[in-house]
Amino acid sequence: MYRWRKVFQLSKTISKINFSFLNFRYKLKERPDTYFIVLTCFVLSMIGVFYYYYFQMLGRLYDGLSRLGLGALFCWLALFAAAMILSIAGAFLLINIFCFSKDIEHLLLFPVRPCDIFTSKYITVILFCYGIEIILLLPVCIIQMHYMGDISVILTYISAAAILPHIVVFPLAVLVTICLKIAMLLKRRRTVLAVTGIIVYFAGGMIGVLLSNGQIGAERDAYIRLHPGIKLFCIILAAVFICGYYYLSNLVIGKKYAIYDKEGRIRSKAMKYNSSSKLRSYFKKEYQTFFRDPAYVINGLFGIFITPFLLTLSFRISADAESIEQIRALVSAPEFSFYAVLSALAVIVLTSAINVVASSSFSREGASFWITKIIPYPLKQQAFVKVLFSTSISIMGIIINCLIFKIYFNYSFIQIGVISFVGILFAALWNLIGVFIDMKRPKLEWTNETEAIKQNVNVVLSVLLCIAVSTGYFYAAAKMLQNGFAAGGVITFLLCSVCILILLVCKGIASHQE
């Protein structure tokens, strides 16, 4: 019992080390400043708005499914979506907590066994998955209870929620543990091995889904129809999973665990001093500091590369060959080609809005921020180079999206040209907004790189603001189309308004007082 108490205490500490937002309560104890109050109100109201629309969307989905006589599918769909989201979030949490976190170097000094630390980390990941699940499944449960008037669905959701993170995270956690052990034995960098392991795992799963050709989910009602007693037993199974992980990690890791992150030299030419312009040198520095840190690469590029991947996958799973052909025909049909451009643009605008690179650009400097202040290169110019760098990353995402639109949906070159040009302008605007926000109050105090990029209030603020502006644009474009505006008029409006906003944010950055 003492050992388990220690494990739970450790998981509490690990949570606090890795998730600095948990220390929010300490902020509340201090006298909050105006910025903090305004920011909190803005974030809460935006979350409220999104949650309201989430409820509405779920309600409509349930209505639609009920009319088709597929009410039972609602629960399965909700659980399936939750499992998908949890598998992605769980993989990220595992990489962050098991690989990027530097806490283990300090925790190993204490009289605890490696399996205690690993189990604490596993519990931390599971607890955060529960947090995500509550946000996702609570509205689903409320809607189903409200429509069906059946209280027993609560038991279905509670039991499913208790076991789902374990089903998703447990195999990944075991895989990561094995990778860490191999990294220790080979004296190699643990992150590379663990990330490779997770990618191989997901790739295997994906190939399985694609080969099964829509056969997955045939037994989807099986869990819902289970006896309530068995559902209650599922809740107890959660504890079994934790114990199972404890013994498995003990078996895999053993009594000794060490980290070998010391890597070799970076290949470079003989000692030469080549001078370059300040802009080029600063851009190069941004590129090198970003791409040499796996925490930045994985967290920063996720939003950019996941959308095209999900886009093709969702079509591959949901649509048959005939319907894809129909979409292709619609895209090239003259009367629908503009709508096709607008919908592709919407995907690109939203993908670029979920951008963590720009809004963490100053925060990533961390303790070395003093260098940016002492070098004779004005901070506003440094900010513009940072915008240039983050926009170049956004452009990579736009190129991939455009390639998918071209190859998969058969968009014409003119359509792709318009989409990429307007998309790049929007991406530049989002990046300017992100850098501007981060420039004002960078988060410089962090212990793990992930904190700078993932647990940064500037990132949240920037993403929410960009999505809010995008929503405004969608609304305006829809209204213009309803009122009979021509395609050229809508595109001109988009271009002009984005250019004005870009100039305004540029002015804001240029007026920054050091």
């Binding site: 010391k262 890597e263 030299r265 970076i266 470079s268 000692m271 001093y273 080549n274 001078s275 370059s276 312009s277 300040k278 080029r280 040198s281 600063y282 190069k284 520095k285 090198q288 500091t289 970003f290 040499r292 840190d293 961390g366 303790a367 070395s368 003093w370 260098i371 202040k373 002492i374 070098i375 004779p376 290169y377 004005p378 007082q513 050091e514």
Partner: protein
């Protein structure tokens, strides 16, 4: 010549960290900033470097004011931090090149400046490794080398000896002396009084955010050690000989 006058600063309202701080460092002078922990030494250095916004007072280096000509001022100053925090994901060589680019130092000049320093600090074999893989001392050596690329008029060092090995400390002392001999100013903060006594021409002792005493060491040999003077100044009482910390040995 660095002139700091009437410098005041606070992090929290009504809690001043610095109050009317005034001192100067002449050309060719080595000045040491001393004081207890938390008296505002690092804050003073950060203000001189422009890392913190100026609230009250003025800071001038030669004809250039930090407030009026920030870029001209920054071109003539350089800094070695006490925290060893330089860009972790760059290699030592890339970091040196980046800093040289920022100060617009031509390729040939940077070679002439860097090569003897790299040899003196014996860091050539570490220059192709990412900074994050280096020891604290090696990081500090690279930071010191980089900070001299613009041949600064004022070289500011915050606890520069921390983490350095004996040989490197010796090289650094020589560097500080040679800078002063070339007519360049050096300002550093340290808690190691022996080093200050050996190196400095002037000692500025701070207390409660202001200058408590300035001691000119050049040409003023004294029988009293710097430690005794320091203790007297910061504690306002003469230090008794044979002072010992009482320990409860049970």
């Amino acid at each position: 010549m660095l002139e700091v006058s009437g410098l005041s600063f606070h992090y929290q309202p009504h809690v001043p960290v610095l109050t009317d701080l005034t001192f100067s460092v002449l050309d060719g002078e080595i000045a040491g900033l001393l004081g207890k922990n938390g008296v505002g030494k690092t804050t003073a250095l950060k203000l001189i470097l422009g890392l913190l916004p100026l609230e009250k007072g003025s800071i001038c280096l030669g004809n250039y004011s930090l407030y009026l000509h920030p870029m001209q001022y920054k071109k003539r100053i350089n800094y070695v931090s006490d925290s060893h925090d330089i860009y972790n994901n760059l290699t030592g060589k890339e970091y040196l090149n980046f800093i040289a680019d920022m100060y617009e130092v031509p390729s040939e000049t940077r070679g002439k400046i860097y090569t003897p320093l790299i040899e003196a600090f014996q860091v050539e074999k570490y220059l192709n490794s990412p900074v994050k893989r280096l020891s604290h001392g090696t990081k500090q050596k690279i930071a010191i080398i980089a900070s001299l690329v613009n041949d600064p008029l004022l070289w500011v060092l915050d606890e520069p000896m921390t983490g350095l090995d004996v040989e490197a400390v010796r090289v650094l002392k020589e560097l500080i002396r040679s800078r002063a001999a070339c007519g360049k100013s050096v300002l550093f903060s340290s808690h190691i009084l022996e080093i200050c006594e050996n190196l400095c021409d002037k000692i500025v002792i701070m207390q409660a955010g202001t200058i408590k005493k300035t001691i000119e060491l050049r040409g003023n040999p004294s029988d009293t050690s710097l430690e005794d003077i320091y203790m007297e100044v910061v504690n306002d009482v003469p230090m008794e000989k044979g002072f010992s910390i009482k320990q409860n040995n049970k």
